[in-house]
């Protein structure tokens, strides 16, 4: 690190949103030529800080200096023109455009500046850049044809094509296999070696250790520390990040040999939203009290698999049985009546009805039984809700609060409280802790373990390897709609290979 003027310097940045201070007098500095990690839990203010740096938000207080020059960005475009580019979690690409067209779209200096455009002219340039940075991608391909990993490469290429001096990546590995992540890290180090600055946002400790030179830790909107990565251990970073020592649940191995299968799937196929098969011949048996973890990179059919089991998505072929009884395909009520419970991936959109009250949301599965003819028994619903608030420790002002006003963790508790009612034979949980803070994660995990303890067959679909390793009795990996059984469930290497669609060498 040079002692010279830092490439990026943010001083005293404060940003308030209604009810929260997302950034509280944050000081952040990154030098040219370094990979600087921004570490923190969800909601710690990492994304807000990066959005301020890229002109998407305006800071309420504080200054930004690039190489010593004060800047005031009004829009992302201003930031790009000053050489600050960001790779967002949700890519900012036009799906129907080709790679080259997407690059031309942001081009204000070269071929894209002219009135007449010819995206083909930049294709050779794209290819060249791709080779130089190990980011191979076909410039003529349309974005929708590319895998998520490839789309990320396009985003990075776009930044390099704009000649970004500062490149910010927001949780870039969430959509990658472990192997793809390694390649990305190599690329990022090369980019930094050219004298550019890479800001790497993550909440995953081993990634931060693997890729960064320095790390700034944020907690609850404040900077806790900036340390050279070499001097830090994952433990020290974790306690900085969380503020206390980490408590994690650990699954104790249990003897399930005597248990029979509750959920049986044989050769189940289902179509995705675009009409192409997304679940391809899945066969899976889950025993009572067993947690089967389904690992995989996002978008390999996990959501479709969960929906198919829950009856939300009709299977096109194959059979799903609960306790030996065949389920009607695509019938949510039949699935529920058979004892299948579902915690969907998208809490706010699918898990609850955001504009209904908490009490109403708790009753969505059972109002038919509890109502008086066509009339809802509102008083009883409210009483039930109060009981659930108590029992599941939901932090809400009362049963009449709109679901949309609850935080992610409390929303998830509402979903769990609703789904856990009645006789729960099978629980399908899709990314149940995504976006939750550490304490909420622990709560959700304890509920999953509790369900298994009650003899429920649990299918846990998750992209979080730590979660999978902590909770599973058995791991299967989903890749392009197919399942493969992990033989050694402690081997991250084997899981990683399978996530990339490869079979580990038998031996």
């Amino acid at each position: 690190m040079s002692a010279a003027v830092p490439a990026v310097s943010m001083r005293g940045i404060t940003k308030r949103f209604p009810g929260v201070v997302a950034n509280d007098r944050v000081d952040f500095e990154a030098a040219a030529g370094e990979v600087h990690a921004l570490l923190g839990e969800n909601g710690a203010g990492k994304t807000t800080l990066s959005h301020i740096l890229t002109g998407l938000y305006h800071a309420d207080e504080g200054r930004i200096l690039l190489s010593g020059e004060p800047v005031a960005f009004q829009s992302p475009r201003d930031a790009i023109d000053a050489g600050v580019c960001m790779v967002h979690q949700h890519f900012r690409l036009v799906e129907r455009f080709t790679v080259a067209e997407n690059l031309v779209l942001g081009d204000r200096r070269g071929a894209g500046r002219r009135f007449r455009i010819d995206p083909r002219a930049v294709e050779s340039q794209v290819r060249e850049l791709g080779q130089r940075y190990h980011l191979p991608v076909d410039p003529h391909a349309h974005i929708w044809q590319l895998s998520v990993g490839e789309q990320q490469r396009v985003e990075i290429l776009n930044a390099l094509y704009q000649d970004a001096r500062v490149l910010i990546l927001d949780e870039p590995t969430a959509v990658l296999t472990p192997e793809e992540s390694e390649t990305l890290f190599t690329t990022l180090r090369e980019i930094a070696a050219e004298g550019r600055t890479v800001v790497f946002i993550s909440h995953k400790l081993h990634e931060v250790k693997a890729v960064s030179d320095r790390v700034t830790v944020l907690r609850a909107g404040k900077v806790v520390a900036t340390v050279p990565t070499a001097d830090a251990t994952p433990q020290s970073l974790a306690s900085l990040m969380i503020g206390h020592d980490v408590e994690t649940v650990q699954r104790t191995a249990r003897d399930l040999d005597g248990e029979g299968a509750v959920l049986e799937m044989s050769d189940v196929w289902a179509d995705g939203d675009r009409g192409a098969p997304a679940v391809k011949g899945v066969s899976l048996a889950v025993r009572a009290g067993e947690i089967v973890a389904v690992a995989g990179v996002a978008g390999n059919g996990q959501r479709e698999l969960a929906e198919t089991i829950a009856g939300v998505r009709p299977s096109t072929k194959g059979a799903i049985r609960v306790d030996g009884r065949l389920l009607k395909r695509g019938d949510v009520r039949a699935a529920f009546d058979a004892g299948i419970r579902y915690v969907p991936e998208d809490r706010l959109g699918t898990g609850v009805s955001p504009s209904l009250s908490l009490a109403m949301n708790l009753e969505l599965r059972s109002y038919r039984e509890s109502s008086f003819g066509p009339l809802l028994r509102l008083r009883r619903m409210r009483a039930n809700a109060e009981k659930a608030i108590e029992e599941f420790n939901i932090r809400a002002p009362g049963p009449d609060v709109q679901a949309a006003n609850l935080s992610g963790g409390n929303l998830q508790k509402v979903v769990i409280a609703r789904e856990f009612a009645g006789e729960m034979k099978v629980l399908v949980a899709a990314s149940p802790t995504r976006g939750l803070d550490v304490s909420a994660v622990a709560t959700v995990h304890s509920y999953l373990l509790q369900a298994a303890g009650r003899g429920t067959a649990v299918v846990l679909l998750s992209e979080d390897l730590d979660e999978i390793l902590a909770l599973n009795d058995r791991i299967v990996v989903m890749y392009e709609g197919r399942l493969s059984e992990v033989r050694n469930r402690d081997s991250i290497e084997e899981i990683g290979l399978r996530m990339a669609g490869e079979e580990p060498d038998s031996g």
């Binding site: 949103f17 209604p18 998407l56 938000y57 305006h58 829009s75 992302p76 475009r77 201003d78 790009i80 023109d81 900012r92 690409l93 036009v94 799906e95 129907r96 455009f97 067209e101 997407n102 031309v104 779209l105 942001g106 204000r108 894209g112 500046r113 002219r114 009135f115 007449r116 455009i117 010819d118 995206p119 939203d273 675009r274 009409g275």
Partner: protein
């Protein structure tokens, strides 16, 4: 030969299809920027009455008067579109509701009807109207004569517009930008493209096209003004845009097809060809086709597959808090 049913149908398809083509091109531009404009019918009606009014009030030579009338029609359509743009882009109102409201507001018992009756435009023939442009000799050439050379200048202008819109969308910087705005406004915004400005501009230009389409009905097709003269042409134009997969060159084909359907009834009658209750089914054919097209493509998946702009009908809100 030039009197054979096929040639006459194609030639009148081009004539009757031209207002549809103008309106559809305008709608296509608006939709490519992500704005669904169901007010086309209303904008056409206002363009029709204002264009006709200009011809009745301005006393200059025919060419100048007609050119002015077209401009006035375009301005009237633009003014209507400005209401839509303000409601749906600035205020982020529901695009379907706003468009329908405009059509009802301007419709057969609304603004256009008030203007026409109040300005005493009903039941008088147009002082000037558009006629075939090219010499009689060319018009009498077999087959191509009536179809290609027997048309008025608006037809030739519409061809230029098709080419211009096609090149604009595929080959120019603003065209690329507007496609990005219609597909993914968030990406466009990040790249520094002014989403609001692009949506306004294309909605307004779309309104101008609709106004011209309306004026071309009262000045070229049926040179007079009667209440509700467009007779649902605006709706057909909206269906046409879908029918043509949001591509200008296919708009032209579709417009002429629907134009030919419209002239089928009088042609069959003139030839004493009777196919059951001819008038009933031939007259309803364009509308039935419109309903069929709309039903077929109304599901979200079908629209996406056909090439509808992904952000069509969706207001853009920057994620700034």
């Amino acid at each position: 030969m030039n009197n054979s049913l096929l040639v006459v149908l194609v030639a009148s398809g081009v004539t009757y299809g031209t207002p549809l083509l103008f309106a559809a091109l305008g709608e296509l531009l608006a939709e490519r920027s992500g704005v669904l404009n169901l007010g086309v019918e209303g904008m056409m009606l206002v363009g029709a009455v204002m264009g006709f009014w200009t011809v009745e009030r301005v006393h200059a030579n025919a060419g100048l008067t007609l050119a002015l009338a077209i401009v006035v029609g375009a301005v009237a359509g633009t003014a209507m579109a400005a209401i839509h743009a303000f409601l749906v882009v600035t205020l982020r109102a529901n695009q379907i509701v706003s468009g329908l409201a405009l059509t009802i507001f301007a419709g057969a018992v609304g603004l256009s009807s008030y203007l026409g009756n109040n300005l005493n435009l009903a039941d008088i023939p147009a002082t000037h109207s558009f006629h075939a442009l090219l010499p009689k000799g060319m018009q009498n050439l077999p087959v191509v004569g009536p179809i290609l050379f027997g048309q008025n200048i608006l037809v030739y202008v519409s061809w230029l517009c098709v080419i211009a819109v096609g090149l604009y969308l595929s080959r120019t910087r603003p065209g690329l930008n507007v496609r990005a705005v219609g597909e993914s406004p968030a990406a466009a915004d990040t790249m520094g493209i002014n989403v609001t400005a692009y949506r306004y501009a294309h909605t307004l230009v779309g309104g101008a096209f609709a106004g011209v389409a309306g004026a071309s009905i009262t000045l070229a097709i049926t040179p007079q003004w009667v209440d509700g003269i467009t007779g649902g042409a605006g709706w057909i134009a909206i269906a046409l845009v879908i029918f043509s997969f949001w591509r200008p060159e296919l708009c032209l084909v579709g417009a002429y097809f629907f134009g030919a359907l419209q002239s089928l009834a009088p042609q069959l009658q003139a030839r004493n060809i009777s196919l059951g209750p001819t008038v009933l089914w031939t007259n309803s054919l364009p509308y039935v086709m419109t309903i069929v097209v709309l039903v077929v493509v109304s599901s979200g998946t079908a629209r996406r597959r056909l090439g509808a702009p992904s952000a069509l009908g969706v207001p853009y809100v920057r994620e700034e808090h």
